[in-house]
């Protein structure tokens, strides 16, 4: 179950398949940090695992409604683990701007805002 969760979170953050070592590291980190979840947080996690396309929305909604939610904590943990891997380091290091960097930034910002607004509605509906 945790390996599926790791793969879903990894693909969401990196846009590619997570390597096995990072998957195992994620599982170990969850054990060490004893990241428990409330029943509602567990339901949110189950929802995004079964419907990965929803993660960006729920994540965006939670940044506004409940930043320290267990799902957010697990996403930040996965970010930390993948950032500390040479396989994905370049995805976390500064990038040099290309000719369309402003467009790329604007697209990301608009998408993030949309995810946040729509995500708040989804999060509010899930009891």
């Amino acid at each position: 179950m945790l390996d599926t969760e790791a793969q879903v979170f990894g693909r969401y953050i990196l846009g590619r398949r997570l390597d096995h070592a990072s998957e195992q590291l994620y599982e170990s980190a969850l054990e060490v940090l004893i990241l428990g979840t409330t029943p509602r947080e567990s339901r949110l996690i189950q929802l995004v695992i079964s419907r990965p396309w929803l993660i960006a929305f729920i994540d965006g909604g939670l940044t506004v409604l409940n930043r320290t939610n267990g799902l957010r904590q697990r996403l930040v943990l996965m970010s930390a683990i993948t950032e500390a891997s040479p396989l994905y380091a370049d995805l976390f290091l500064p990038v040099r701007r290309g000719p369309f960097y402003i467009v790329r930034m604007l697209c990301a910002a608009v998408r993030a805002a949309f995810c946040g607004v729509f995500g708040m509605l989804i999060v509010a509906f899930i009891k």
Binding site: Y12, I13, G15, L25, A29, V32, L33, L35, I55, A56, F57, D59, G60, T63, V64, T68, R72, Q73, L75, V76, L77, S79, A80, I81, E83, A84, S85, P86, A89, D90, L91, F92, L93, P94, V95, R96, R97, Y101, R104, M105, A108, A109, R111, A112, A113, C115, G116, G119
Partner: protein, 536 residues
């Protein structure tokens, strides 16, 4: 008799005092908690931070920690910024230095090197007015600053910051290269220098206790940006002195002890310490006791020994920080070598008629810290935040603002019983700023934000940190005129003949400037005074 002098604490004050005594031929015993951190060799020394990130398969160990201790996911407290390599600084502290407070988040240390093991290396001299306000002797401190600066090695630049940082100190090394975002705002500052001066604002390179060339057998920095993760000898750390002292015949080092109290008799001082490993009490005997356990640690020892029920004042610089963007640096390439330490020092001098009032801001780039810390705080989803921050990182600066601090009845510490603690007590700290002080802090924060806007940096948000977050503590046993729980000018504890304090406990005013260089200068002059007394 274990030694002529017993020094408690191996932080910057402790080692400088101990070294001065040892060099004068005195026999010295030094006690501390003794935790040590890794020294060099943790990474490939030929590679800088970014190269290591792309190649080192073991980086998780020093970036996140073996137990993921750097991945703070919930409340961020004082000390959360410590990287795994620096976590040893707070080892055993919760157990052996218990502290209760609703209003004060202290960071203390029992490590070899004390809090100096994590010092940001910013070095400043106090002005004449600041020295007078702190009741420190001006000429003695000026002399001590020079000697200590020569001992530790400082890099600095002869610019507008000099009067506030290295003033009359000679023989500094050239500064390291400047981060491009910081260089841009500095260039703008030079262009509008007169206007800034009229506002009382002065900017320059900070003086840092970092070598850029060889000094006293230590190497210059190779600019790997690994200052937060490992020590290579270019950054001054107290353990450098401690390791040299250990080789001397008239010096004895005993790590692994928490000093609890002392009892003074006509010809000696009996010191009781708790062995951290066995929890057994040990007694040590000396002719003269020199306390340098930091302002809070020394207060614990003195209060237990003299009067646990009495309150002592606490000084701590209020601290705020402002993340900001330099838009022109968005998506710009960064040089592969540099330093992660402070890039610029920005002073707000509102002193008037002998009344010092100087704020200090350190400007940091976000060069060698992990992005996930920002992802956690970003107001948008993690995936898009990562994409945006990749462009934003080269343009990101973090400004830490320190405010000067005076004593008041609302800031105090006292001991209270605690049966669960191995020391059977704990320190209670109550700390609150007056309305006037809070207004002053906020006004100065706004002034800094406006100045940075004028220099082309966009402040994102001003964050006022909880009291204690500056990790600058002083003033618990203020210099006075013989009242109980005060110090004489030579550091002697009132009512005592053989107990001296060599740390910042005596300061009656805490300038906003980093205090470590002044702590060391004060420790040096205190030790010199002791040498003179014991020779007479």
């Amino acid at each position: 008799m274990n030694a002529e002098f017993l020094v408690v604490g191996s932080g910057p004050s402790g080692v400088i005092a101990a070294e001065a005594l040892v060099n004068s031929g005195k026999s010295v015993l030094l006690l501390d908690g003794g935790s040590r951190g890794p020294v060099g060799g943790a990474t490939d020394a030929t590679k800088a931070f970014v190269e290591l990130r792309r190649t080192d398969t073991e980086q998780q160990r020093y970036l996140l920690g073996e137990q993921f201790e750097s991945v703070a996911l919930e409340t961020v407290t004082t000390g959360a910024q410590l990287t795994p390599a620096r976590r040893f600084i707070t080892k055993h502290v919760d157990t052996f230095l218990p502290l209760r407070s609703e209003t004060f988040q202290a960071l203390e240390s029992l490590a070899a090197g004390g809090l100096g093991s994590g010092w940001g290396l910013g070095s400043c001299v106090f002005s004449v007015d600041e020295l007078k306000a702190a009741r420190l002797p001006v000429s003695e401190m000026h002399k001590a600053y020079k000697i200590v600066a020569e001992r530790i090695g400082i890099c600095a630049s002869d610019d507008d910051a000099r009067p506030y940082t290295w003033a009359h100190i000679d023989n500094v090394q050239p500064p390291p290269p400047l981060d491009p975002a910081a260089a841009q705002i500095y260039k703008r500052y030079i262009g509008m220098r007169e206007r800034m001066h009229r506002r009382g604002m002065r900017m320059g390179r900070p003086a840092l206790a970092l070598l850029t060339g060889e000094h006293d057998g230590r190497p210059g920095s190779t600019l790997r940006e690994m200052e937060f993760y490992e020590d290579d000898g270019s950054a001054w750390r107290p353990w450098l002195v401690l390791d040299q002292l250990v080789a001397k015949r008239n010096f004895t080092y005993r790590g692994g002890f928490v000093v609890l109290r002392f009892a003074e008799s006509s010809d000696h001082v009996e010191v009781t310490a708790l062995d951290i490993a066995t929890a057994k009490l040990h007694n040590f005997r000396c002719r003269t006791l020199v306390l340098a356990a930091s302002a809070l640690g020394t207060a614990r020892i003195v209060l237990r020994s003299v009067n646990p029920r009495q309150r002592v004042p606490v000084l701590c610089n209020p601290y705020s920080y402002i993340p900001m963007l330099v838009p022109q640096q968005l998506g710009k390439a960064k040089p592969s070598r540099g330093i992660s330490l402070s890039q610029l020092a920005f002073f707000d001098d509102e002193s008037a008629e002998s009344m010092p009032d100087i704020g200090m801001a350190f400007v940091y780039s976000y060069r060698s810290l992990m992005l996930f810390r920002l992802l956690r705080e970003a107001p948008i989803n993690v995936r898009d935040a990562r994409l945006l921050l990749q462009y934003l990182m080269p343009a990101l600066l973090v400004v830490g603002i320190h405010h000067p601090e005076s004593a008041s009845s609302e800031k105090y510490a006292m001991m209270e019983a605690d049966a669960t603690s191995p020391t059977r007590d704990r320190l209670f700290v109550s700390y609150s700023l007056t309305t006037e002080e809070t207004m002053r802090v906020r006004r100065r924060n706004r002034k800094y934000a406006a100045a940075f806007r004028a220099l082309g940096a966009w402040p994102i948000k001003t964050i006022e940190m909880p009291a204690g977050a500056s990790i600058h503590y002083a003033g618990t046993l203020p210099f006075g005129n013989g009242e109980p729980l005060t110090l004489s000018r030579d550091g002697r504890l009132a009512g005592s003949r053989r107990v001296f304090v060599a740390d910042g406990s005596g300061f009656t005013y805490l300038p906003a400037k980093g205090l470590t260089l002044s702590l060391m200068a004060n420790a040096y002059r205190t030790a010199q005074g002791l040498c003179r007394i014991s020779t007479q």
